[in-house]
């Protein structure tokens, strides 16, 4: 008997037991749908984190004033003012460091025509945009000479720009910050949330000198809130951390045996932790979903075993009229596989639909890849073969006379 004929026989058997076929398939459908849904959620989370990390910039170190606290790190509390712009400039000279960006910050009110908007203000240098991997939507960043001259220029975050200007082009317009006029030179491209969930697009950037002298003021001139350091390469990150520590201890005249008055953090390492967490999450989700696939597979095996017993006489008749063991084995295996593959395809569609629904309802990023679809398909046929083989083997190894006599 050729394969297409056996396929026909298998299909006929499945059609004769529609309800049972459907119920068995349901196990498969749920299993595959769960796997697809979980994988797409996991993949979505990973993609989101990777995007955030890419947006953050590569090979980043964060240097904040104050000793390492036991509960992690904080963006320098106001009382500690041990880091200065000069420290940042000195660190920039290190061979393991590409560039540095000192940062001061505060909150301000912006006015444009009749609109006003409260937001964060960051005083920094042009390097900041490069180190932090910021792209310009329009205009340019402020320049080194504008920092030196403490010019009244401002770069707007995308949300801030939208809130004040709507559809109007902000570059070239003048906004008022604490009642002083500032020329808008650039608008940043949106970046979304940071790893810690903070919105990064509602803020404005001015030269650090302008901020210190004209806006926020500074009790300790030259001190900064924190600095971003970009290492020369991924391999030299550890070296950079050591060199920065040595340099700052020396500059701050910290005697041996005393604690640092600053903290160096490797942001890339933090990003790695987040990536790993997302990976673990998707593995756990996938594993949970796989259990339901396994249960579906066991259901198929159970039904196929019942089916073999129930159809023993049919098997006997088929053997008496010339079916060999391979024909019987193939028929039952095909029945199991058809349940699995059909269930798998339906499950796939439901999984994709579910993923879309989740992305709409929960506003989550859901990623479905061709690989996942292939995996679901492969997995469901593998389940079919694995759980269908034993019952099929059992059917094929029946002795014709015993099968025929079976009541």
């Amino acid at each position: 008997m050729n394969l297409s004929a056996i396929f026909g026989e298998a299909l006929r058997a499945l059609r004769q037991n529609r309800l049972r076929t459907g119920l068995t398939m349901l196990g498969m459908i749920i299993g595959v749908a769960a796997v697809v849904l979980m994988l797409s959620i996991g993949q979505g989370a990973r993609t989101k984190i990777n995007e955030t990390i890419a947006a953050m910039g590569s090979n980043l170190l964060l240097v904040v004033p104050g000793a390492t606290s036991s509960g992690g790190f904080s963006f320098g509390s106001g009382s500690v003012r041990t880091l200065t712009i000069n420290d940042a400039n000195a660190i920039a000279e290190l061979s393991s460091v590409r560039s540095t960006a000192p940062v001061t910050s505060g909150t301000v009110q912006l006015n444009y025509t009749t609109k006003n908007w409260n937001t964060l203000i960051t005083g920094t240098t042009p390097e900041y945009f490069d180190v932090g991997n910021w792209a310009m939507e329009s205009g340019t960043a402020f320049t080194e000479s504008e920092v030196r001259s403490a010019a009244r220029v401002v770069v707007l975050g995308s949300i801030t720009a939208k809130s004040l200007f709507g559809d109007e082009e902000p570059v070239g317009k003048t906004v008022r910050i604490t009642n002083r006029p500032f020329l808008v030179v650039g608008v940043l491209m949106a970046k979304g949330q940071s790893l810690t969930g903070r919105d990064q697009d509602d803020n404005v950037f001015v030269p650090i000198s302008t901020s210190e002298r004209q806006i926020t003021g500074n009790q300790f001139p030259g001190s900064i809130r924190y600095m971003l350091v970009q290492g020369a390469s991924a391999e030299e990150m550890d070296l950079a951390e050591i060199e920065i520590t040595q340099l700052l201890r020396q500059r701050h005249r910290i005697p041996n045996g005393k604690d640092n008055d600053f903290t160096v953090r490797n942001l890339t390492a933090i990003a790695d932790v987040a990536t790993d967490a997302a990976k673990v999450m998707s593995i756990v989700l996938g594993a949970i979903a796989s259990v339901s696939l396994l249960v579906g597979g066991i259901g198929i095996m159970n039904i196929m075993l019942v089916s073999v017993t129930e159809r023993t006489r049919e098997i006997g008749i088929r053997m008496a009229i010339g079916a060999n063991q391979r024909a019987i084995l193939t028929q039952f295996l095909l029945e199991a596989m058809m349940i699995c593959i059909m269930g798998g395809l339906i499950g796939l569609l439901i999984g994709i639909g579910g993923a879309w629904l989740v992305s709409q309802v929960a506003d989550m990023l859901i990623v479905i890849t061709l690989g996942m679809i292939g995996l679901a398909f492969l997995f469901s046929s593998a389940v079919g073969i694995f759980f269908g083989f034993y019952p099929a083997q059992k059917a094929a190894s029946l002795k014709p006379v015993d099968a025929l006599r079976y009541e």
């Binding site: 008997m1 008749i317 008496a320 010339g322 079916a323």
Partner: protein, 252 residues
């Protein structure tokens, strides 16, 4: 695989030598008890013969038929089918013999449920590797011969016993076997239908030279056969020409 010879020769189609069959069962105490069903059967059946096997219930007729049909294996002794030692054949070869060379007709018809008469008759062709459409065409031809053309699309439960048995006979014949094994083919039929079926067998034997071995309890059915074999408690007690004189078998 060569087919069974269809020409007359000195070689028998079926040759049984010292054939024994016993079953081992566990009794209520878990002990194995062996019951012997067939005792040292020696038997030769030639191509073209029409043989009726008779005997009391439990005498081993069906057991013998199952062995002849390569559905079961003997415990000892040998079975030569057209010169081939059946014990030496693989399960695939046996399946092929059942498919091509032997046609079965059972008392309970044994049609495949929820499948049309047409597909029932066509199935042996499918197992012979013939395409579904060609199989169906050929099956319809056979149903026409047995007068069942109008019932081709009926399922077994929509057919009378006699019709079912004729479908079963069509199925048995579709691969042009040289041997038909019929275990009480008329056991579930009334006498008129029984006679119709037997006339069909007689015609197949006479016109096509198909060897027929059938089991029956009824003398008027056995009367169609040319040779009578009596089984009693697993022994061949009588083996005679149906019109000739009774020849007592040597085993007693």
């Amino acid at each position: 695989m060569s087919s069974i010879q269809t020409t007359h020769s000195t070689q028998s189609l079926i040759q049984l030598e010292q054939l024994c069959k016993s079953y081992s069962l566990q009794d209520v105490h878990g002990q194995t008890i062996t019951t012997q069903v067939l005792y040292h059967i020696n038997l030769a059946i030639h191509q073209g013969e029409f043989v009726a096997i008779m005997g009391h219930s439990g005498s081993g007729k069906s057991t013998l038929m199952n062995i002849l049909g390569c559905l079961d294996t003997p415990t000892s002794g040998s079975y030569w089918l057209s010169g081939k030692n059946v014990a030496a054949l693989s399960s695939n070869e046996l399946a092929q013999i059942r498919n091509r060379n032997i046609g079965f007709v059972f008392q309970g018809f044994n049609l495949l449920k929820r499948m049309t008469a047409l597909d029932n008759v066509a199935t042996p062709l499918l197992y012979a590797g013939i395409s579904r459409s060609r199989s169906r065409k050929q099956a319809l031809e056979f149903l026409r011969h047995t007068g069942l053309e109008d019932f081709a699309m009926h399922q077994p439960n929509q057919l009378s016993g006699g019709q079912q048995q004729r479908v079963a006979i069509s199925r048995a014949l579709i691969n042009h076997p040289s041997l038909i094994l019929a275990d009480e083919p008329t056991g579930n039929l009334d006498s008129q239908t029984s006679n119709d079926i037997m006339q069909l067998f007689e015609k197949l034997n006479r016109d096509q030279g198909i060897t027929i071995v059938l089991v029956t309890h009824e003398d008027d059915i056995a009367a169609y056969a040319k040779r009578l074999i009596h089984l009693k408690d697993g022994h061949v007690t009588i083996d005679k020409n149906n019109t000739g004189v009774t020849a007592l078998h040597e085993t007693f």
